[in-house]
């Protein structure tokens, strides 16, 4: 995508590395220079994107499957099987039995064992079809496996940022760069429109728009509507910054030269002005992804985002809204940990990218 295309040449041209080299080598150098935090962040994000890409494999169960006899079940403890049992499996757990339905209190049933099967029926790990389930992170209120739901929820929560950034940034760059290059009345007009857009109270605007999504839409369509709404709210601010950069680049000697040589408007825009602002755009993109993840969480928390039975980290976390639930079933907070980890990872990565590519630091 745009962002990567921009990072690679920028990295290749970096004065620290000297000569122009392939992007693989550049990436290797970047990795060597990054701090441990940045490396961990990158690995974590890779893992979560793997969750999203390969959720049917990584998730042990169908995320919508309800074990109605096991609501709010605690995470099950995996046990290592003794060597004599290795032909049945290496890891087992004791099935849980609802002891007190009112308190949702469970006891482990030590008379039976559920063996975890690895690489079985297309899952990384799962249990036999008729056997009791193995809840790695517990179950939620309807007896659905929380871990499977988190893995599937990554599809929504990890992609929402990328899709949103793709929309808002392509819009922002195009509008901003064009406006900055054009100058004059066109520039003023476009910027006033952006300011009007920015002055809308974004969260309430989002609430209002989410309420008018037609009810017949499926989950995927709803998802894209939400992303599109969020992206259309956030492009204006970005366009203003890009416009400022473009306006200053416009009078730079190399642009003047290109213009003097008879370069067309389009050529000026795509060959000179947009590449000049790309570095900033890439940094800014990585820093704005968390905003989308949190925005979706907020909407889902209010029941306006992704709807049952589809999972997103935001709507999974909405169960943790009352102190009662947190006190007795603390594992419902797990999606929150995934959200914070992702947001932090993106912030560390974005900070790092800024330090590396911000023209002000390139000295």
């Amino acid at each position: 995508m745009n962002a990567r295309a921009a990072i690679a040449p920028a990295a290749a041209r970096n004065p620290v590395n000297g000569a122009r080299r392939g992007w693989r080598a550049a990436l290797r150098d970047e990795w060597r220079m990054a701090s441990l935090t940045v490396k961990l962040s990158a690995l974590l994000l890779l893992l979560f994107y793997l969750f999203a890409a390969a959720s049917p494999v990584i998730a042990p169960y169908n995320p919508a499957r309800q074990w109605r006899e096991l609501p709010d079940c605690a995470p099950m403890r995996p046990h290592l099987a003794p060597p004599s049992e290795w032909r049945r499996g290496f890891i087992y757990a004791f099935p849980m039995r609802l002891d007190n339905p009112l308190a949702r209190h469970y006891v482990e049933d030590h008379s039976r064992r559920t063996f975890v099967r690895f690489f079985d029926r297309g899952h990384l790990f799962t249990t036999a079809p008729g056997a009791p389930p193995f809840f790695l992170m517990g179950s939620e209120g309807l007896g659905r496996d929380l871990f499977s739901r988190i893995v599937y929820g990554a599809r929504v929560s990890m992609c929402i940022g990328l899709v949103g950034v793709a929309i808002s940034f392509s819009l922002g760059i195009m509008v901003g760069a064009f406006s900055g290059m054009a100058g004059g009345l066109t520039d003023s007009a476009i910027m006033r429109v952006c300011e009007i857009e920015m002055s809308l109270p974004s969260f309430y605007f989002l609430l209002a728009l989410a309420a008018v999504i037609p009810s017949g839409l499926g989950t995927t369509a709803t998802f894209f509507m939400i992303v599109a709404i969020m992206a259309f709210i956030s492009w204006a601010g970005f366009a203003r910054v890009i416009r400022g950069m473009a306006a200053s680049v416009r009078s730079a000697p190399y642009v003047e030269a290109a213009r003097a040589l008879g370069g067309s408007r389009r050529r000026l825009l795509f060959r000179h002005i947009i590449p000049a602002v790309m570095g900033f755009a890439a940094v800014s993109a990585s820093l704005s992804i968390p905003g989308y993840i949190l925005g979706e969480s907020a909407l889902s928390l209010l029941g306006l985002g992704i709807q049952e039975p589809a999972a997103s980290w935001g709507n999974l976390l909405s169960q943790a809204m009352d102190p009662q639930t947190i006190a007795y079933f603390p594992w419902v907070l797990a999606p929150g940990l995934f959200i914070s980890a992702t947001v932090m990872a993106f912030n560390f990565l974005g900070d790092h990218l800024r330090d590396r590519f911000d023209p002000a630091n390139s000295g």
Partner: protein, 557 residues
């Protein structure tokens, strides 16, 4: 790890309670969810306003929630004559309004006149029109009111359950056409002229409503002692139920209606908190899946949507009724503290509830067989179609922000998925939902709850085909189906006899018809609980309200 710490912090939290002075001051504290919208008893449309002024005003007769019979209120006695067509009330003497003026028949006549005024939008009037005709009232003297009915009308006492207004205080405003604006929430509480057990002293928006005992209240206990026994009441306004729960636990309020998941922790802490947790009974309302049968929704440009055929096909609906996992809903959404609902009338309504209905058992195999036999066969794996080959897909909604309903919809959706029926589920915020149900009719299936009362005729707007709350096809000009016509007829017949036991069979039959035709599929009814401080005496909640609330007091310590 972090989650564990947070949980430990919350679970291990012991609030150091300041000793409260509720008992010493004989003031009962409880919590309410929202601010009132008006202090004008005739204009009340929401529960919050009703609760705010409920103790300020009285009606002619009072309902005893234990016996579910009417007892004397502002009317000391009454008698029927002329075959039930004339009702004479003998008003209580010596009752005074809070400004010292006596309560007389003039107040009753004034209130009736306001209710029947078409310019005053009020919810009492629909119950007081009998076959569209008003009740004629007259007052031969200051303490006698005679009501003449167009015909015998059994629910008349229930219809006359409106709050009596002070004529001397409001007549001038009414004559000037300002009635709709008097006694808004900006009225200083001491300007509200009342005669109930309590008088309002303070209203702080978003914080509290405070009341003091009415020293002139007419009721006395058996020993001639003055009632009410409490010296005051305070309703704290707390929008968040979690906050209400914590406030009760910390001693800021004295009574609390716990949600199912709070019952067990409260029972565990009962001794430490010195509280009692008591089962009150089965919810009196009804929570059901309704299916839209309104042709206005389905016929577009002469083409009828296939969903109209499905939802009016009794076999399709029977299959769906067998796919509602009530046991699962009870265990998952109510922690087991609920019972399956079979009829729209709660079993707590001992006389009018039909106990002979046989529930549709949860049986997906049977549901699939019924669908197959009715021509709804699988058209591809996981997708069932109607006899014309249209895949079975419909929308399901409910009001957003209610976790229990959200879960019930998820359960229903999952089970229908197993039958090959796709349900698009999306909750709507309450205003949007009401608009869809009442004006745009743009909905397929909704999970919705109605409150219920003792008098079965109160459900008239829901049961009659002409009613605005006849949710599956409201405000029909003439009944769309034979069974709806029969319900209309039974509703008329049920009001003709005066004796409840003679009336009951008509309403039992209505429940049977709804059960057979399935315009709605009943789900479950919560078993309600209440928790209150052990220092409270004579606190007797029932599903129909508090029994003898005037007797409540704090035990002297």
């Amino acid at each position: 790890m972090a989650a564990g710490l947070v949980a430990a912090a919350i679970a291990g939290c012991r609030v150091n309670r300041p000793p409260n002075d509720h008992a010493a001051a004989q003031t009962l504290y409880d919590a309410t969810v929202s601010d009132p919208g008006t202090f004008n008893p005739l204009l009340v449309t929401d529960a919050a306003s009703g609760g705010a002024i409920g103790d300020l005003f009285e009606s002619l007769a009072r309902l005893n929630p234990r016996t579910t019979l009417f007892e004397p209120g502002l009317a000391a006695s009454w008698e029927f004559s002329d075959g039930g067509k004339t009702l004479t009330f003998h008003l209580r003497r010596g009752v005074k309004w809070s400004d010292g003026a006596p309560f007389t028949a003039r107040d009753v006549l004034f209130t009736m006149r306001v209710i029947y005024d078409p310019k005053i939008p009020n919810s009492s009037v629909s119950a007081m029109l009998i076959d569209g005709q008003p009740i004629a009232v007259s007052a031969p003297d200051d303490y006698t009111v005679v009501a003449r009915l167009p015909r015998t009308f059994a629910p008349i006492l229930s219809s006359l359950q409106f709050s009596i207004l002070p004529a001397h205080a409001l007549e001038a405003a009414y004559a000037a056409g300002r009635f709709n604006r008097v006694w808004g929430i900006d009225t200083p509480p001491d300007r509200l002229v009342a005669l109930g057990p309590f008088l309002m002293t303070r209203y702080v928006p978003a914080q509290l409503l405070a009341y003091r005992r009415n020293p002139n209240f007419w009721m006395r206990d058996g020993h001639g002692g003055r009632l009410p026994r409490l010296k005051g009441e305070t309703h704290l306004i707390v929008p968040d139920q979690n906050a209400q729960y914590l406030q009760f636990k910390s001693g800021m309020t004295d009574v609390y209606g716990p949600r199912p998941e709070e019952v067990w922790p409260l029972e565990q802490a009962a001794r430490r908190l010195n509280i009692t947790v008591r089962k009150v009974g089965i919810d009196t309302g009804s929570l059901f899946f309704a299916f839209n049968r309104n042709p206005r929704h389905y016929v577009r440009r002469g083409v009828t949507d296939p969903r109209y055929k499905w939802f009016t096909d009794v076999n399709f609906m029977r299959a769906l009724a067998h796919a509602v996992d009530k046991r699962g809903m009870i265990d998952l959404c109510y922690r087991g503290l609920a019972v399956p609902a079979v009829s729209d009338v709660s079993p707590e309504n001992k006389i009018y509830h039909n106990p002979n209905l046989k529930d549709y058992a949860y049986d997906l195999k049977l549901a699939a067989r019924i669908l197959d036999q009715a021509g709804y066969r699988m058209i591809r794996p996981g997708v069932r179609g109607d006899p014309r080959g249209n895949p079975l897909v419909f929308n399901l909604t409910t009001n957003a922000g209610v976790p229990v309903r959200n879960q019930m919809c998820a359960i229903f959706k999952q089970d229908l998925q197993k039958l090959g029926i796709t349900v698009n589920y999306r909750p709507l915020d309450f205003i949007t939902l009401v608009k869809a149900l009442e004006s745009s009719f743009d909905w397929d299936c909704v999970l919705i709850g109605f409150t219920g009362g003792i008098e079965p005729n109160d459900a008239s707007d829901f049961l009659r085909s002409s009613g605005n709350l006849h949710i599956w096809n409201p405000a029909q000009v003439k009944p769309a189906t034979a069974w709806e016509a029969q319900i209309d007829h039974l509703m008329d017949a049920g009001t003709m006899a005066l004796d409840p036991y003679q009336r009951a069979p008509y309403y039992w039959q209505i429940q049977q018809i709804l059960h057979d035709q399935l315009p709605i599929i009943e789900t479950v009814r919560a078993v309600t609980y209440v928790a209150y401080r052990n220092t409270l005496e004579n606190y007797n909640p029932t599903v129909w309200g508090l029994y003898r609330p005037e007797w409540i007091e704090f035990r002297a310590e």
